[in-house]
């Protein structure tokens, strides 16, 4: 399994700088493989930037970082055309979004106008400036971070925008022993500087193609749709997931299957990814909040109650 070895090499590389967050690294790689984007929601300083940088270094990709501030303008993201008096014409200066791996830090600190500029680019994989459409080079992977909504001075992302992210992850604080290990590693040097690429961009693009070859059995498609439907009917959920979420879940599952060295999707893949894919796509009713139930709990309950298909349908 060449693919598996390559993927594992990436994850191992990330693990050299990220301690105790293997599942997050894996999920980020899954999103990368499935050509999706990741929204990381966490407090500052838990290693979000470090992970993205490690990921970018591992695949030898161009790494750009945008620090979102309340006064950031769309042109600061997309790029700007500047008049070149020598050439007598406008020259395009590409913005940071035109990179392979983009870290959009604290995306909820900027105005909705700038946010939407980024999100449009993510969705279309191209940017249009002054009537000129420019494709974003492949692979293109955005990892946006946001502070938890409760923090002051933030512009919460609209639900429609959130739908653009394949996965929403939470890092969480490291375990004390892991934190000590972090200190140990950083005592004398920064391991991020020693990282070398383990696969080329071309190989990554090949892997992304491979993901689409992973088999999704009818039973599994049924299962995904069943899960999606149940989010639309659940009493605690005000707005269920869209069909785009179903597609996202399928694609992510394919990515996870490939990561696990399997050429077919199993219900375990789907169950594992479902909270990360659906978590930011459902809107809970106020009752849920009164009852102290989080969206994770609601989704876990749905998974628990949805029968896993364990037999081919006779009618087929």
């Amino acid at each position: 399994m060449k693919e598996r070895a390559q993927i594992e090499a990436i994850i191992e590389n990330i693990e050299k700088v990220m301690i105790g967050k293997k599942n997050i690294a894996e999920l980020a790689v899954v999103a990368l493989l499935a050509q999706g984007h990741v929204l990381l929601e966490d407090v500052p300083g838990v290693g979000k930037t470090m992970m993205v940088r490690a990921l970018a270094k591992s695949i030898g990709a161009d790494f750009k970082r945008i620090q979102f501030t309340p006064d950031l303008l769309p042109s600061d993201v997309l790029g700007v055309s500047i008049y070149n008096p020598k050439e007598m014409e406008f020259e395009f200066r590409p913005g940071p979004i035109l990179g392979n791996i983009v870290l959009a830090d604290e995306i909820n600190r900027t105005s909705p106008k700038t946010q939407s500029a980024l999100l449009e680019g993510m969705e279309e994989a191209s940017v249009t400036i002054d009537g000129v459409t420019m494709p974003i080079p492949k692979p293109f992977f955005v990892m946006a971070t946001q502070n938890p909504i409760e923090h002051e001075g933030t512009y919460p992302l609209p639900e429609a925008q959130l739908d653009r992210f394949l996965l929403k992850l939470k890092m969480g604080y490291p375990h004390p022993s892991e934190e000590i290990e972090v200190l140990n590693r950083l005592e004398h040097a920064s391991p991020i500087d020693t990282l070398v690429p383990v696969i080329s961009l071309e190989e990554l693009i090949e892997l992304q193609k491979q993901v689409k070859q992973v088999k999704v059995d009818e039973t599994m498609k049924n299962y995904i749709v069943d899960l999606s439907n149940r989010t639309r009917q659940d009493t605690y959920i005000y707005l269920g997931v869209s069909p785009r979420a179903s597609i996202a879940l399928m694609r992510a599952s394919q990515g996870l299957a490939l990561l696990n060295g399997r050429e077919y999707v199993t219900p375990d893949d789907i169950q594992y990814l479902m909270p990360y894919v659906f978590g930011h796509r459902v809107i809970l009713r106020p009752e849920a909040r009164y009852d102290g139930i989080s969206s994770e709990e609601v989704l876990a309950r749905i998974v628990k109650r949805t029968p896993v298909p364990i037999k081919r349908k006779v009618s087929q």
């Binding site: 199993t266 219900p267 169950q271 949805t306 896993v308 364990i310």
Partner: protein, 734 residues
């Protein structure tokens, strides 16, 4: 105290209590079969369990047990020392002879020492099985349950009283179950139990069982809500149905054996295995004592001769019997050793002469063929004597040629053998006619009557024979009402039926051949006991003479027939060209008729049987229903035993694998390891494997998921899958 020591201590207790349970099995067996030597069998069990407890290798156990068994046999049956050469020879001889008997399926010939040996082997196997249950399965529930059933059934249906036994069985049974559970707990535990906990556990377990048992024993108990089933079951038997006046149908139980008085036949017999005589003889045969000629409708008497016609013989003098000895073969000699004092000779058929060392002479009563022994004018019992005999030989051809017309010119001295009571119901005569109507020769008619009982639902039973009350005829009652009885019923009925057809017949008393108990100079020694007392039939054919018949079900007495093979062969080969043709053809028709009669008879018999056995049928159905409920409830235990062979017959392909996988899921569900509906198969497999500490379920699930979700069914090693599957199924049923 280590874990091992703890296990050993519990094992000692378990084996002790199992020994107690086994003894409760042994006691009734020994008591009811009159075996004796309970202590010797008991010690054998003790030895066995001690060996199992010590986990001795079979190389030590086998010879020790074998020596013990041999010692017991030598000790019980002889006065020899086990170390002597004779006893060794004896044992070898025992094996040689009895194994030959076993191979030829001659069960009767198996001697008592060998039976003892076989019983030991049975005990050996039982202890082995118990050891397996204790050591490997750690579950003795089944044995316990059967012990309780065994004792209760014996207590209800046999003279054995299980009152004390049931208390012992229940107490020790519960203690065993508890101890085995404790052992299981220790086994499954990573570390060991605390010593105090162990002692407290065993102590409190024993305490609880003993206290609850004694409490249950002491508490007042309600009487049985159902009446004793035994009289009820007996009342539903066909025997009771004929009770014309409903009172005391069965007479007082008599003791089986030879008696002079046969005026009133019927009633139950208690068995009595007191030996009467021992006969060392090359051939197996019946021993005739006398005949009786007058049927009184209740029993047999001899037609009163004014003076008995006696004819004296010296020892060694040829005896003239009205059944001539055979001439073709050499004469044979039987040596008789009498255990009981009887002043008459046990006559083999074809008797030629009697020799004895004792100073006696013989006297034949020609009225009843009884051969008395006299000494100085008084009837004197004789201890040992030799009888020379030559079995009479009959020509089948001659027998077949006897026709009813021959009966017309019979000599008048045979008239007394045609006597019938005037009160004999006509239906008896009608029956005789219908039985014999299809046979031409007198011999075939007699054979048809002899066969009749075997083919028409009669049964042999010593306890259920009725005593005719009032005007009831003994034969009529047996033939038409009870259809159950012993030799007297069958033989008397056959004589009456023969006489109804005009064939002279008489009732013979004597002893059946008995059992071989040992061998002397290569000849078998038959032990004839009171249980062998018997009665049968002699019929007279003109031109042939007297010939024996055996109508009683379960008995055989072969008559020496010359099959006149050549003639028979001719007839068979050229049936069309011989004059026999006419007789052959009706025979064929007769067979057809018999078949059709047979069918309608069977149907009506079934209807009758159902009618008569309503109660039994009800109980049977109830029993079956309970049994099937039990089976359904415990389906998990036996279903695996069925599933494995059934699936083994199937092909090794995906469809089978899929089926088997889902069967397994079902079995797991029944086992208590249910899969939640939202649980994926691989998560479930991990859970299952964690339960059993193995990886079979994961292996199966991986292959199944690959086939189902990945649609990749190549490269599945179905053989290894089946192994894992069977392993899991077996664990589930364990």
């Amino acid at each position: 105290m280590s874990k091992k020591t703890q296990q050993t201590i519990i094992s000692v207790f378990v084996y002790s209590f199992v020994l107690i349970l086994m003894m409760e099995w042994l006691k009734p067996v020994i008591e009811l079969t009159d075996t004796g030597h309970l202590n010797l069998f008991g010690w054998y069990l003790v030895i066995s369990f001690v060996f199992y407890l010590l986990k001795l290798k079979w190389v030590y156990v086998f010879p020790i047990k074998l020596v013990y068994i041999c010692w017991v046999i030598v000790n019980i049956y002889t006065d020899l020392s086990i170390l002597s050469v004779e006893s060794f020879k004896l044992i070898l001889e025992m094996f040689k002879e009895n194994i030959a008997s076993l191979i030829s399926q001659d069960w009767v010939q198996v001697t008592d020492p060998f039976r003892t040996f076989l019983f030991f082997i049975l005990l050996w196997m039982t202890t082995y099985l118990l050891n397996y249950w204790i050591r490997v399965r750690k579950n003795l529930m089944l044995f316990f349950l059967f012990t309780v059933l065994f004792i209760t059934i014996l207590d209800t249906f046999s003279p054995y009283s299980g009152e004390k036994s049931i208390v012992i069985v229940l107490t020790s049974g519960f203690i065993i179950l508890g101890l085995l559970y404790a052992q299981k707990m220790i086994h499954e535990q990573e570390g060991k139990l605390h010593g105090a906990f162990l002692i407290a556990g065993i102590g409190s377990l024993t305490g609880i069982v003993v206290i609850s048992s004694s409490l249950a024993y002491a508490l007042p108990k309600a009487g049985p809500s159902w009446p004793d089933p035994v009289p009820f079951l007996l009342s539903t038997s066909p025997n009771a149905a004929n009770g014309d006046d409903g009172k005391g149908v069965r007479g007082a139980t008599q003791k089986v054996g030879y008696g002079e008085n046969d005026e009133r036949l019927g009633g139950a017999f208690a068995s009595d295995d007191t030996p009467v005589f021992y006969a060392t003889t090359p051939t197996k045969q019946y021993w005739k004592i006398e005949t009786k000629d007058t049927y009184t409708s209740k029993g047999w008497i001899n037609s009163a001769p004014e003076t008995p016609v006696l004819r004296g013989y010296e020892l060694g003098e040829p005896i003239e019997s009205d059944i001539a000895p055979g001439t073709e073969d050499e004469s044979l000699k039987a040596s008789i050793y009498m255990s009981q004092a009887y002043s008459f000779i046990m006559q083999p058929y074809g008797i030629e002469q009697v020799d004895s060392m004792e100073p006696i002479y013989l006297s034949m009563n020609e009225r009843n063929q009884k051969l008395y022994t006299f000494n100085g004018g008084n009837e004197t019992p004789v201890g040992t004597y030799d009888v020379t005999y030559n079995e009479p030989l009959y020509s089948l051809k001659a027998l077949r040629e006897t026709v009813p017309a021959d009966l017309e010119g019979l000599p008048s001295e045979l008239d007394r053998y045609l006597q019938l009571p005037e009160t004999l119901p006509t239906r008896v005569k009608d029956l005789a006619t219908s039985i014999t109507s299809d046979s031409d020769s007198l011999y075939d008619k007699a054979k048809a009557i002899e066969r009749y009982f075997r083919l028409n639902g009669f049964s042999y039973n010593q306890d259920m024979a009725a005593v005719p009350e009032g005007d009831t005829d003994y034969v009529d009652q047996f033939l038409f009402d009870t259809k159950i009885g012993y030799c007297d019923n069958f033989s008397t009925s056959m004589v009456v039926l023969l006489r109804s057809k005009g064939i002279p017949a008489r009732w013979v008393k004597g002893f059946a051949s008995g059992e071989v108990v040992e061998r002397e100079n290569g000849l078998p020694v038959y032990e004839v006991t009171n249980n062998n007392a018997h009665s049968w039939v002699e019929a007279y054919f003109p031109g042939i003479g007297w010939m024996t018949f055996e109508p009683t079900i379960g008995f055989t007495n072969s008559v020496n027939l010359n099959y006149d093979i050549d003639t028979e062969k001719d007839q068979l080969e050229t049936p069309e060209s011989t004059p026999e043709k006419t007789t052959e053809k009706p025979k064929g028709e007769k067979e057809d008729k018999e078949v059709s009669i047979g069918f309608s008879e069977i149907m009506s018999n079934i209807a009758k049987w159902v009618n008569n056995n309503k109660a039994s049928i009800f109980w049977t159905i109830l029993g079956l229903a309970l049994l099937s409920m039990f089976a359904y409830h415990h389906r998990r235990k036996w279903l695996a035993k069925v599933l494995i062979p059934v699936n083994r017959m199937r092909k090794n392909d995906w469809d089978t694998f899929e089926k088997m996988y889902h069967q397994l899921l079902k079995q797991l569900d029944g086992y208590g390891m249910a899969r939640e509906q939202g649980q994926t198969l691989s998560a479930y497999a991990k859970y299952v494997d964690a339960g059993f500490g193995e990886t079979h379920m994961r292996k199966l699930t991986a292959a199944y998921e690959k086939g189902l979700y990945g649609n990749n069914r190549e490269g599945i090693d179905y053989v290894s899958m089946r192994e894992s599957w069977e392993n899991l199924i077996n664990q589930l049923s364990g």
